[in-house]
């Protein structure tokens, strides 16, 4: 469900570097930290080059001593949200919306598998604790480049023991999804959070097992792709426009700034409202949405402009503007 936003003030109570690239922020909201279902996130108002924008960060564990906790990975080539967050020292103030939940743990599955990739550990950290407390069958598979770059590894190992499996690339390991899913109870649920490549691989493997799609739950903020973000050009012949998309802004924002009418709602690649017709592509499309199916991604006839990008050149799109019809 979606709720109207009531912004509240919060103070950065403390920061803690979990790894060289991931920093945990303890936030003390005015009026105390309300509880939330595990898997919830905070929406934070950030400033990027002085321009206000919104970022979503998963909440870690449960509220502690009146505070909420989030963890932010520093994305130097990113759009600027993480650099802003990393600039905040203890004592800094910021505006946050109360916890919201799109990724809730069910109550009654017979078994659970949590799959985390990199910073995608954040919503799953609390789920692991909740499942351990419930004494239900579950496992967590946590993938990353190397143990030293993966947050919460030690505390998870202590909490979960043999139910935790660390899959580190620098140890020459990858997740064997087929094997993981094969040993699950037929009505088990899987919760996935991580980069789009991991998510796509998990969803495809899940589909191949014949399991029901609604038993795999996932969350994506549309912030990761198969390729690093780079600047590209959008040609809009119908309007006689060429729009530059800088490396650190979205195609949707660039088009809106140029006066191209595009609808949008979720801004994280889920709802499909910002989808545009693709006329031509020089290079590739880095599809980062979950609205279009795998088949539709392969067709390359549509692009979800809130999250997806062109790589290696330019894209030509056709917006829905047709002028006002003359009715006879």
């Amino acid at each position: 469900m979606r709720f109207d936003t009531n912004w509240i003030k919060a103070v950065v109570q403390a920061t803690r570097d979990l790894t060289p690239g991931i920093r945990e922020f303890t936030l003390a909201p005015e009026g105390g930290a309300t509880p939330y279902p595990t898997g919830s996130h905070l929406t934070v108002r950030v400033l990027i080059y002085g321009r206000p924008d919104l970022r979503h960060y998963s909440l870690i564990g449960e509220p502690r001593e009146g505070c909420w906790r989030i963890a932010v990975k520093r994305e130097d080539p990113g759009r600027g949200g993480s650099r802003y967050m990393w600039s905040l020292p203890p004592g800094a103030r910021l505006d946050v919306a109360p916890p919201d939940s799109h990724f809730e743990l069910s109550r009654d599955a017979p078994e659970y598998l949590l799959i985390a990739g990199g910073i995608g550990i954040t919503p799953l950290r609390g789920m692991a604790t909740a499942l351990a407390r419930r004494k239900v069958a579950f496992r967590m598979v946590y993938a990353g480049r190397s143990r030293s770059q993966m947050a919460y590894v030690d505390e998870l190992a202590a909490d979960l023991g043999p139910r935790l499996e660390i899959v580190a690339e620098d140890e020459q390991r990858t997740i064997d999804f087929a094997a993981e899913f094969a040993r699950l109870h037929p009505e088990a649920e899987s919760y996935v959070c991580g980069p789009i490549g991991l998510l796509e691989a998990a969803r495809q493997a899940w589909q191949r097992t014949g399991r029901r799609p609604e038993r795999m739950l996932y969350e994506t903020f549309g912030s990761s792709g198969r390729y690093a973000a780079e600047p590209f050009l959008v040609r809009v012949p119908r309007l006689g426009l060429e729009v530059e998309v800088a490396q650190n802004i979205t195609m949707l924002d660039a088009l809106e700034a140029a006066g191209v009418g595009v609808l949008a709602d979720c801004r994280r690649g889920e709802c499909g409202l910002c989808m545009l017709d693709v006329v031509a592509i020089e290079g590739k499309i880095d599809h980062r949405d979950v609205f279009l199916s795998q088949r539709q991604h392969a067709e390359n006839r549509k692009i979800c402009s809130c999250v997806s990008r062109a790589v290696g050149g330019a894209i030509t799109i056709d917006p829905p503007w047709r002028g006002d019809p003359v009715l006879e």
Binding site: M1, P35, H102, F103, E104, S106, R107, D108, A130, R212, P213, E214, L217, Y218, E219, T220, C266, E270, C271, G272, V290, F291, L292, S293, R295, Q296
Partner: protein, 351 residues
């Protein structure tokens, strides 16, 4: 968030009788939450938030397709867990699409729902009303929907003095108002015990017992927080040992009441009467149910008038008498449950 609350959310509330809930949609509000209830094909109860994720149309206006609920506006399909499993005109499903599903359990002939924090919904906390589904006991009941704060019904049941005045023609007589009583309590329960020794039985009990002469009559009221009142009542011929524990020559009945807040000023009042005598005679079940229906209608008239009077005198608060001790313990236990949720109880009914 309410600044003051009249009911806790972390509690099992009766939402329907077992027979009321079918493989069809039932819209009911429980503790302020709009909920769409139904049974799956296998008979399992389901409780989903009654507002579509998409455009908020009540899902209870939709239809069932097997175990799934189809929204009656744009056809989004939800499974019994509240997850959206189909969206119109797209090849994928928005991963955020779901409605809240409430913990629900069927027990003692009622379907119970937990509107609060799901992780706390322990089935062991369902009020013990086992007599309502036990072959040693026969009976039945109904649900009524009084337009009053559910706590006024609890007050009513926690002090049966009112029988003398509200139900003079059936179960009330002067002995109820005059007999002494004892009140005790625990962390989650309050108990009011009243024995009337060697009295002339009122008409209802004379018929049930089917014997002449004076009786010992008991009323032992068990409150289970926040809104269940199970009353152990009966009569036995005087001198046959009932006060000492031998009820063999008497007749016993449990008056089962669980009063679910619908809103702050309306409730769903589920009641049943089950007896341990002539348990195979359906006629007795029907006669008792019909006569209790009339008795409880007398209560309903009083309770709704009381709620109106409270609303018409917003600056007045209640006086309490000695007879209100049971009701006051009940309200204190309710307030503790509300406070434990971090909310402020609104303890005086007429503030």
């Amino acid at each position: 968030m309410n600044t003051a609350a009249t009911f806790p959310l972390n509690a099992w509330y009766a939402a329907s009788w077992d027979a009321e809930l079918k493989h069809e949609l039932l819209a009911r509000t429980v503790s302020g939450k709009k909920i769409a209830f139904y049974r799956t094909l296998a008979g399992e109860p389901v409780a989903l938030e009654d507002a579509c994720w998409h455009r908020l149309l009540p899902l209870s206006m939709g239809r069932l397709n097997g175990d799934n609920l189809v929204c009656g506006y744009h056809g989004l399909v939800y499974n019994p867990h509240g997850r959206c499993v189909r969206m119109p005109s797209q090849e994928t499903i928005n991963p955020s699409a779901c409605v809240r599903s409430f913990p629900v359990i069927e027990r003692h002939r009622f379907v119970w729902v937990w509107p609060g924090e799901p992780a706390l919904a322990d089935p062991a906390l369902v009020p013990d009303l086992h007599w309502n589904a036990n072959p040693g006991w026969a009976g039945d009941g109904k649900v009524i929907h009084p337009a009053c704060d559910y706590r006024l019904v609890v007050d009513n049941l926690m002090d049966l003095t009112h029988e003398t005045y509200v139900h003079a023609g059936s179960i009330g007589n002067d002995a109820v108002a005059e007999a002494p009583f004892e009140v005790s309590h625990g962390d989650h329960t309050a108990t009011v015990t009243r024995w009337m020794i060697d009295i002339e039985p009122p008409p209802f009990w004379r018929i049930q017992l089917g014997k002449p002469g004076n009786v010992d009559r008991w009323q032992i009221i068990h409150f289970m927080a926040p809104c269940t009142v199970a009353i152990d009542v009966g009569v036995a011929p005087t001198g046959t040992g009932a006060p000492q524990g031998d009820r063999a020559r008497g007749v016993s009945m449990w008056v089962i009441n669980t009063i679910t807040p619908e809103t702050e000023k309306t409730c769903h009042y589920f009641w049943a009467n089950v007896r341990d005598y002539r348990v195979n005679e359906q006629r007795i079940t029907t006669e008792i149910r019909d006569s209790i229906t009339k008795v409880f209608h007398e209560d309903e008239v009083v309770l709704e008038a009381q709620q109106r009077a409270i609303d018409e005198h917003p600056d007045h608060i209640f006086y309490n008498l000695h007879i209100d001790a049971g009701a006051m313990w009940a309200r204190r236990l309710i307030d503790r449950m509300i406070a434990a949720e971090g909310r402020a109880p609104r303890s005086a009914a007429a503030e």
